[in-house]
Symmetry: C3
């Protein structure tokens, strides 16, 4: 597929600098894009590559136009426009509608038109699947689950029973939705499992990365809002509620019963303790450990950047003597005060 | 199913306040339970909801009875009693005994009575499976593995060869037991893999959360005791031994050859270094980094709670200058001492 | 299989102490090896067991010979020699060449000689698989992927489309290669997915642990060099490049577009931020948070070892008052200076 720059400019409301009939048919990086590729500048650290790029065109912000040696599409949000154009150039693979003979589909499941149930897929009792859904190879869908139109389960995804999923979601390989939450009650003879009888509800346009998990609720549902994006190996505990358009990077996690607002961004390996409430528009840096509710939008952090080990060891040793340092400081203050008192 | 409160009171040794013939048929939260639901109070932060709940009955501790506006079952361990009653109201799904035609079962595997081998399951050579076991869809069981009665592998679980599992265990989707430990030996031309020839032994009543891993031993076995509970995305390195009734929360991990005692509780994202010995009854806070053996029961922590990023940045900058601060303090002490000496 | 010590000594260039005709047929630990087992001493903490071991032979370094009560093979690298001998004693399971009738193989896939495609495996369009490859039960291989000779996918592994893998690799259960990177562009109405059109390239002799993920590139490829070793639950973001013979322990992760050099060792739960460059021969301690590029080989750390919670809480409280402590110190310095000035 080849698209004229003029058409892209109109479609995405960009100002076009350069030949309107120039066509692009693929994407590339500034550094290595070929003559039919479109690319973009979003991270200023790559700006100097504008002078040397061989791309057919660059999507960029107004302030970078002057540096650009090739045609460009000018927009305030180059990365989002790039995303849209790339989606045109690389449409999702088409589905092979139907049930593969090596799939298992329970007799009372309901499948929408155009949906593909691949080899090795397993569809439980009373499952309802919308139109144009992909249930990829070796995916498992538990009883009574519901999947909205155009959602795609790539491969080896597991949905337990009573998981309700919206439309246009993407679940990557190894995703597990609806496993039992970690509910265990202490008894004199060990832990007793607390049945997890809630479900999972996933909004529309949710994408969940490989091997991420969303546990089912203990009593009520665990809920991800519309447009939530989870990276790989993310963990969502039981009863959590994640607001619309919140994004969580890889290896982050929410303990049980925590409520996260809308439009939050949670960095890689960040963790939020249980039973907290995080307001909208909170940004947690990578590895942040959030142990109290947050009522004020903003950026939160608790990471220590790595140092050379010798330096680090000394810092930790000092840290462990902070109490002693504080005592010495107090002693000095006392001495100075009594000296001052004497000279009064 | 509906159960009379009087029956529950007798069965679980609770004092009953309210109508003994009242029946409950489901569970709910204090806040939203309907008139046929039983609920519980364990976390004091919800105590005020006792006044307004519409539940049929509440399971609670003696000190909360006075606040409760509806029938209640009084016990010292409300959460454990709730767990037991919920298990009555929501029994595990019944198995469909037999081997699904889309499963693969090797000719010399031995299956107990009442066990279900679902579509897509794979059972290797010489596997022995007890009675009433569930091997869910797309689970894989390697050669020579043994699974005790009533254990359930939900879906997409992988057991390697020579994994021995007790009775009444639950392994959630994506669990991997018996993968090779991370044994690599440095050589002048790169790493050489160290064959991992030990096995994995799992006790009775062990539950392992989604996408968690227990590596096989390098030479001897990796062992989880009875009643061990692992949350999702937990990692157990090779040769570890985890004592009975120890619980590990999500994304925590044990490096290789570490021994953890009985009844420990390991918080989310906590990590224990390799070759350590942790005694019984140790509680590690979330994100704790345990780098030395622990011989004394108690609570251990190393987490820094997140702060607003501006404040945090300053704290880290101060931390990195601790050496300088310490030097300045020493200099002051020296000055004061020499001043004092002069005035003697 | 039994092997004479004399043969092993010759094959691995070891000095032999003891009966050259003694045979070994299995491995064991120093503590519990039986009379036909060979073992090794690499970690000095086990040295005293040399006096009491019942092993047939011990592989050890020259300085330990004197302590050893049984035959020994002396070498500078006992662990690597052990690895090689163990690999002789425990050869990889032989493959059952052919396509299992319960596998799905697309009509235009190309399979090398001796390869085994197990029950439940799924091989997409145009896939090319080398000789003696294992595609284990319920593994999924996406369209246009390429797998080199003797590579083994154990079970429930997912390769997306256009993943290129070298020879002699081992991918453990639950591994996901080629899932979409976490590319999302902010817009006024939520996140827009950025198509991930690059691939994944994996070198030769790469081993990847259970449930680890390597994302496909956004535009170009994500690349793991030859001999890279990843433990379980490791995450590699899109566009990363990992140099030859770098090893990453469990639950560590690289954010997107980061380049890691050769022969690095990255500890468990360590994390490297995005768009960084890490030089060769960097060792990151467990839980290190690397937030800046590293140009100097060495050891880097940022972990705080856990303390008893009471002590830890005080330390954190002190830490949060570092600003105040610094102000008090400055105030004292001011006082002393003005006192000194007065006495001039």
């Amino acid at each position: 597929m080849a698209i004229r720059l003029a058409d892209l400019a109109v479609r995405y409301g960009c100002e076009l600098h350069g030949d309107p009939d120039r066509e692009v048919s693929c994407v590339g990086t500034l550094e290595s894009a070929g003559s039919t590729a479109i690319t973009f500048l979003a991270n200023p650290q790559y700006r100097k590559q504008l002078a040397t790029t061989s791309a057919a065109a660059v999507i960029l912000a107004p302030e970078a136009v002057a540096d650009c040696s090739v045609p460009c599409l000018v927009t305030k949000n180059p990365y989002a426009v790039y995303a849209a154009i790339a989606a045109e150039l690389y449409p999702l693979p088409r589905l092979n509608a139907g049930i593969h003979p090596q799939a298992f589909v329970s007799s009372n499941a309901v499948l929408g038109a155009g949906s593909e149930i691949a080899a090795g897929a397993f569809i439980g009792q009373n499952v309802r699947i919308g139109d144009n859904v992909l249930v990829g190879p070796n995916c498992v869908i538990g009883d009574d689950s519901v999947i909205g139109a155009e959602t795609r389960l790539i491969a080896n995804v597991t949905l337990y029973s009573r998981v309700r999923v919206g439309s246009r979601c993407i679940f990557h390989a190894g995703v597990v939705l609806g496993a039992d939450g970690f509910g265990i009650a202490q008894t004199p003879v060990g832990w007793r499992k607390v049945p997890q009888v809630g479900g999972v509800v996933i909004g529309n346009d949710v994408e969940i990365g490989a091997n991420s998990c969303v546990d089912r609720g203990a009593i009520e549902d665990t809920v991800l809002g519309n447009g939530v994006k989870l990276d790989n190996q993310v963990q969502i505990g039981h009863n959590c509620r994640v607001g619309d358009h919140t994004a969580m990077a890889s290896q982050s996690g929410l303990s049980g019963s925590t409520v996260v607002g809308a439009r939050c961004v949670i960095g890689g390996k960040a963790a939020v303790a249980g039973h907290l409430v995080i307001c909208d528009d909170v940004f947690m840096a990578g590895r942040a450990s959030v142990t109290k509710s947050i009522a004020k939008p903003g950026v939160y952090s608790s990471v220590f950047p790595a140092e050379e080990a010798g330096i680090w060891r000394k810092l930790v040793a000092r840290f462990k003597r902070l109490d002693e340092m504080s005592a010495r400081l107090k002693e000095i203050e006392k001495q100075l005060k009594s000296a001052a008192d004497r000279t009064k």
